[in-house]
Amino acid sequence: MDIQPPFRLFVVAVALTAAACGGAYEPTSVPLSSGGSGTVEAPSPTGPVTLITHDSFWISEGTLEEFTADTGIEVVLQMAGDTGQMVSTAILTAGDPLGDVMFGVDNTFLQRALDADLFEAYESPALVGVPEPLRLDPSHRVTPIDFGDVCVNYWIDRFDDENPVPSTLADLADPAYADQLVVQNPETSSPGLAFLLATIAEYGDGWEDYWAALRRNGVVVTSGWEDAYHGEFVSGGGDRPIVVSYASSPPAEVIYADPPVDTPPTGVATNTCFRQVEFAGILAGTEHRVAAELLVDFLLSPAFQEDIPLSMFVFPALASAALPQAFVDFVQLPDDPHLLDPAEIEANRNAWTERWTEIVLR
């Protein structure tokens, strides 16, 4: 697929000469053809289909190959940074997309993507197997593929009968849990934003008072999940026993334990969760619409859906998909997670996070 380096050098050299002549700033108004020097693909309606994903995407080897075996369509993967980077990139390249299908936009970024008209509507027949609450876009510009919950996690060993584990958002503001919680900045972190949304969904207008109380109770704020979980939280050697993470973190603590353990060292406060739903959508401007539709269908197929948990540590959207044993044993799914309308999130998030910054950080 790629041209050999020496020839590539030649291409660059030619381009250098062209640029030296001052042609560099001409706007490129060439239509959506792939006539560049990089890739050459057949203009077939079912030609290779490119799937743009965030960096956390992965699926077992052989899974996408099943799709190719069934349809004759090859899937090319392109990773485009975290969800924020991927969505921003897609908005910048709207109309001349980097690929045909995008996977991984979640409900906190969804409205921004929809406002930018990133997607072409497609109602997959496989959607019937997906529970109603996950179908957040009635016009089917995006299709729900998986979900996960951002929840408060705690280090079990630090609690006992006299110091019970925290179970509600209100507990976190209780002086009994003073100086124990670490959260992420919603201005710089995706779980941080989700947790702020959980508190807004729970307390409505009272969320500002709640965060003032958390501040009085000694909450620590980090910029990202990594520095919270691996830095301040007990798991990574810190000394705070309560952290904002995911409902699927406990099974990861078991599967990736060293030395092996039988049960997770962490637990989840299931009343504190915000549900994140991840979607796939066909990018507007695709030249492989038919192949793209087939790929979206495949993303909802049992083969793909049942591989999701152990590859990405989120839950399949397909209700009938079987869960791996580690998930059955170690995941406590919230009965009634918090959710907010994507349009409401997009309309308010900047005001909310700015207000949050004033309350918690200033």
């Binding site: 790629d2 380096p5 291409v11 381009a15 250098l16 000469t17 640029a19 030296a20 560099a24 490129t28 792939s34 006539g35 560049g36 020097s37 990089g38 743009i52 960096d55 956390s56 992965w58 077992s60 090319v76 993967l77 392109q78 990773m79 485009a80 940074g81 975290d82 924020g84 980077q85 921003s88 990139t89 910048l92 390249t93 001349d96 980097l98 201005e187 710089t188 704020v221 910029s223 990202g224 999940w225 990594e226 520095d227 691996h230 830095g231 798991s235 990574g236 050697g237 810190g238 993470s245 973190s249 990861a252 603590e253 990736y256 334990a257 060293d258 962490t266 540590f313 998030r349 200033r362």
Partner: protein
């Protein structure tokens, strides 16, 4: 015959200018120009006009500036004794120390941040009156850690090539060691100090991970604000306004720094001298300082990489290293495969940087005045531009014929080379400028042709600097995360820093341990590569002895 030769020489001269100019134009000016134009189109100018009136903006600019100034000053101060030691004293393990000092450079900030937090905790600096955690102090300490090597090596290499006779003459004429240093050595070292300081300054000015991880959530710089607006808020207009401020500030600073570096310096000689042995006191003092500044965070990483289990269950083990060869289910490739990718990219990036930077240095030193100034300025700019600006710019600019490079694997090393070129130039330009004219004249008088003078005088001296710059580019490429994370990539071509970041993106002791082992391997690989690359440079310089 004569005309053919002239034609060859003329086209060589044109290529010297065209290759760096084209490289900069296609991969930096055009992309950055494109993204700025796009941002201005959605209201960036209006935001720009509104910025100075906002107190929070003024606070961000002030903080960005002063933390960079103080970080740079500290890095120069801390590196100074080491630079002297490397340049003027002989001791066992000199080359190893020089290579080891480059190591911090490739370490991902998220890993170093963790190491610093652990250190603060161990020494009781995580709370109480001496708290360093989530303070400016932590930012400054990390900036010194990352950047000492730049000063140490840029200044050290230049100092080593400096003729010692003027100092000796000054001493004979009765100057004290301090006077000789202050009035004879320092003025001649100045170009190299300015060169190193300008790079360190730009690095700290555009620092990202260190600010977010070690400074805590209340500190913001222009770089973190650009990222937050562009990526997290999707507010391209505000991000563009901030990017314009950043670029103008960087432009102004590079102009000043370049003017300082143009102060003439003389006395580089290609001859290897016999250096005095370092006294043991001097060695202990210097190495002690290095051990504290560079060694302790690294020691924490090594310790963590060799540990499995937590608390009382912790045990020494090499399991984390053994695991690097195996792919974990969460990731497309194994850490080892990612290291292979990174090495390949680093070779290409360093090669490109040496080619472009070397030619550009020639133009800066020997070219016409305007061209020289423009090159000196323009090729420094990528170092001071936000990864967001460059990354997004490449995505929207390099998207159509003749160059659709958006999904090309070669875009990554190109982006890395953009950052490597300034390193090559900052080491080569001061060296080329200071080649003693008498040496050239002597060679010419003895009958050497201009080409021969270039080969036998300029090249051996420049080779050493070229190798130092190339080694830096190599290290920069191995550790680069920012711009790389914006470029779309095939899962098979993830680099080691990207894989490392993914390993740290999930709970699990084994994944964290693997991430630590991967950072240590990255460090060792860097030190080894630097040793090899600089070895080539030194072999080149030996020819000058004849």
């Amino acid at each position: 015959m004569g005309t053919v030769r002239e034609l060859v020489r003329a086209s060589a001269r044109v290529l010297c200018v065209a290759i760096p100019a084209g490289f900069l134009a296609i991969f930096f000016l055009y992309p950055v120009g494109s993204i700025l134009v796009r941002g201005i189109g959605v209201g960036g100018l209006e935001r720009l006009v509104g910025l100075p009136g906002r107190g929070s903006f003024r606070g961000v600019v002030w903080f960005t500036l002063w933390q960079a100034v103080v970080s740079t000053a500290l890095a120069v101060l801390v590196a100074w004794p080491g630079a002297h030691l490397l340049a003027r004293r002989r001791f066992r393990g000199r080359a190893v120390l020089r290579a080891a000092a480059t190591v911090p450079f490739v370490l991902p900030t998220v890993v170093v941040g963790g190491a610093f937090l652990a250190l603060f905790e161990r020494f009781g600096l995580s709370d109480g009156s001496l708290r360093l955690t989530r303070t400016v102090g932590a930012i400054l300490a990390a900036h010194v850690f990352f950047n000492v090597a730049i000063v140490l090596r840029t200044v050290g290499t230049f100092w080593e090539g400096l003729d010692t006779r003027p100092e000796e003459q000054a001493r004979v004429l009765g100057a004290t060691p301090w006077q000789a240093f202050r009035w004879v050595t320092l003025p001649r070292l100045w170009p190299a100090v300015a060169a190193a300081a300008s790079i360190v300054f730009l690095f700290c000015f555009t620092s990202f991970g260190v600010i977010l991880i070690l400074g805590g959530p209340t500190r913001a710089t222009l770089e973190t604000e650009i990222w937050r607006h562009a990526v997290f808020r999707g507010d391209l207009a505000s991000a563009t306004a901030l990017a314009v401020v950043q670029l103008v500030a960087v432009l102004a600073m590079v102009v000043v720094a370049n003017a300082m570096q143009r102060r003439r310096a003389v006395g580089q000689v290609p001859v290897r001298r016999v250096l005095p042995r370092a006294s043991s006191r001097l060695l202990v003092g210097n190495l002690g300082l290095m051990a504290v500044v560079l060694g302790m965070p690294i020691a924490v990483l090594v310790e963590r990489s060799l540990t499995t289990g937590r608390g009382p269950d912790a045990a020494w083990s090499v399991r984390n290293y053994a695991a690097l060869a195996d792919r974990v289910d969460l990731l497309p490739i194994s850490a080892l495969a990612a290291l292979r990718n990174s090495l390949l990219f680093a070779v290409v990036a360093a090669g490109l940087a040496v080619l472009v930077g070397g030619l550009a240095s020639l133009v800066v030193v020997h070219g016409r005045r305007t061209t020289s100034r423009l090159f000196d300025l323009g090729l420094m700019m990528p170092l001071g531009a936000s990864a967001v600006t460059v990354g997004f710019g490449m995505l929207i600019a390099l998207d159509g014929p003749p160059l659709d490079l958006r999904s090309s694997r070669w875009l990554v090393p190109v982006a890395h080379a953009l950052i490597g070129v300034p390193f090559v130039m900052r080491t080569v330009v001061p060296t080329l400028r200071s080649i003693d004219h008498r040496l050239r004249e002597a060679a010419a008088v003895l009958g050497a042709s201009p080409a021969r003078v270039r080969r036998d005088v300029d090249l051996p001296i420049a080779a050493r600097a070229l190798a130092v710059g190339g080694a830096f580019s190599f290290a920069v490429s191995l550790g680069e995360f920012g711009a790389t994370s914006f470029l779309p990539r095939h899962p098979d071509r993830l680099t080691a820093p990207l894989v490392l970041f993914r390993l740290l993106g999930s709970p699990g002791e084994a994944l964290r341990g693997q991430a630590m082992a991967l950072s240590v391997v990255l460090m060792v690989l860097t030190a080894a590569s630097v040793l090899v690359i600089e070895g080539w440079g030194r072999r080149g310089s030996v020819r000058g002895d004849l």
